[in-house]
Symmetry: C3
Subunit: 157 residues, 3 copies
C-alpha cells in the first residue's frame, strides 16, 4: 500500500483575530508543504467565514494576562478598548510585514485548503449559507473526523 498523503485537519472554534490568524498561518504553511488541508469552523469560528467579516475580526484585551501591552481589566473593559487592542495588533502585523488575515484566507483558497462550516453551529446560531463567503463547504462533525482519520496532523484553535 502506497503511503497516504499527509493531511492537516484544523478546528477553529474561536472568532478572534489572533486565533484565526494562527489557524490560517498553519493552514497555508501545511498546504504549501503539500499536505491536504482542511479547516473546520464551528461556534464563534463561523464569524471568520461570514461575508465581509474576515478583516473586521477583533482582539480582546480582557482576561488575557499575557497581552504584550499590559492593560488592567478595569481599563480594558471600557468602550473602545477592544477596538484599540485590535488596531494595535494590526499595526504590529503591518510593521512586521506579515499578510493580513484576508490575504491569508485568499492564499489558503488558492492553495486548495478546504474551508468547512459546521452545520450544527449554523443551526444553533441562526446563520444562513447566504451569509457565508463563496467556496465554503457545509459539513458536520463526521465530515471533519472522516477527513482527520487518515494520516492527519490535527490542531484545535
Amino acid at each position: 500500500m502506497a503511503e497516504e498523503k499527509k493531511r492537516l485537519a484544523i478546528i477553529c472554534i474561536h472568532g478572534s483575530l489572533d486565533v484565526a490568524f494562527a489557524a490560517f498561518v498553519l493552514a497555508t504553511a501545511g498546504a504549501a508543504m503539500e499536505m491536504e488541508t482542511a479547516v473546520y469552523f464551528a461556534f464563534y469560528g463561523l464569524e471568520v467565514l461570514k461575508k465581509g467579516k474576515i478583516d473586521k475580526l477583533k482582539v480582546s484585551p480582557l482576561a488575557n494576562p499575557a497581552m504584550p501591552v499590559k492593560i488592567p481589566n478595569i481599563v480594558a473593559m471600557l468602550p473602545g478598548m477592544t477596538a484599540a487592542a485590535t488596531s494595535m495588533m494590526k499595526s504590529w502585523m503591518k510593521k512586521a510585514k506579515v499578510a493580513s488575515l484576508g490575504e491569508l484566507m485568499e492564499m489558503a483558497k488558492e492553495l486548495g485548503v478546504r474551508l468547512i462550516a459546521c452545520q450544527m453551529s449554523m443551526d444553533v446560531m441562526g446563520i444562513k449559507k447566504e451569509e457565508l463567503i463563496e467556496g465554503v463547504e457545509i459539513g458536520g462533525a463526521a465530515t471533519f473526523l472522516e477527513f482527520a482519520s487518515h494520516n492527519a496532523i490535527t490542531l484545535t484553535f
Copy 2:
C-alpha cells in the same frame, strides 16, 4: 499486523458550556463512527464531571469579540450578564433542536466513551472522587498519552 482501530483522544481544559458542547459533539460523533473515544478532563474542565453540574455550565459574554450578539464588555461584566448569555445560548440550542449537554453526555456514556478526570487537577483544585459523577475514571497525563499514542486523532478544547 492488522490495522488498529481508530481512536479519538480529546482533552478538555475549559468548563464553559460552549467548549464542553464542542467536546461532546465530537466525542459522540467519533464513537458513533466506531472510534475508541476518550475525553480527558483537566483544570476547569473538571467542572463538567461534577455531580449535578453538566446542565449548569455557563457561557461568558466577556472577552469574546466574536459573540453573535454583540455586548460591550462594560455591559457584559455586569451581574446577571453571564446568566443572560447562557440562557440565550441554551434557547438557540433548543430552537435548533440539538441535544442538551446532559443528553450528549449520557449518549457518550452509552456509546462507551471513556471519561477521565485528571488526578493532578483534582489535587490542585481540591476535588474529591465523591464529587464526580458515576463512571468516571481517574488518571494522569500518562494515561491520556498512552491512549493517544495508538492511531488516534487528538483534539484539545
Copy 3:
C-alpha cells in the same frame, strides 16, 4: 521499515499560568515516556519563554465561569483581582505538592524537550532573541509541521 519513535508536538498560543502549566505537564510526561517532544510557542505563548517570566505568569479570574472559586465579573475586573486569582492558584499548587512552572520547565529541558519560539510571532510582537531564555530554538510554522508530520500526537493549548 522500523517503526518511528513516537512524537509529541504541542502548540502553546496562550501565556497564562494555567495553560502553560497544562502544556508543560503533558510535555514532561511525554518526554518521560520516551516520546520525542517539542513545544512550539506562538503569540501570547512567547511570554512563557521570556527571561524571568516563567514564574510570573498569571491566571485571569475574568470570563471563566468555571473558576472553582466563583467571582462575579464586576469584581473580577477590579485592580488586584488577577494577582489574587494567581496567588490562589499558586497556593493550591503548592498545597497539592505539584512542581512550579519554573521547575516543570527545567525538567522539560533536562528531558530533552525542544522549546521553539515562533519567528513570525516574535516579529509581530517585537520580541528579540536576547529577551528569550537560553536553549530556545527559533522556527516557523513549517518547523512545527515538519516535526508533527512523523508519528506525532499533536496538542494545542
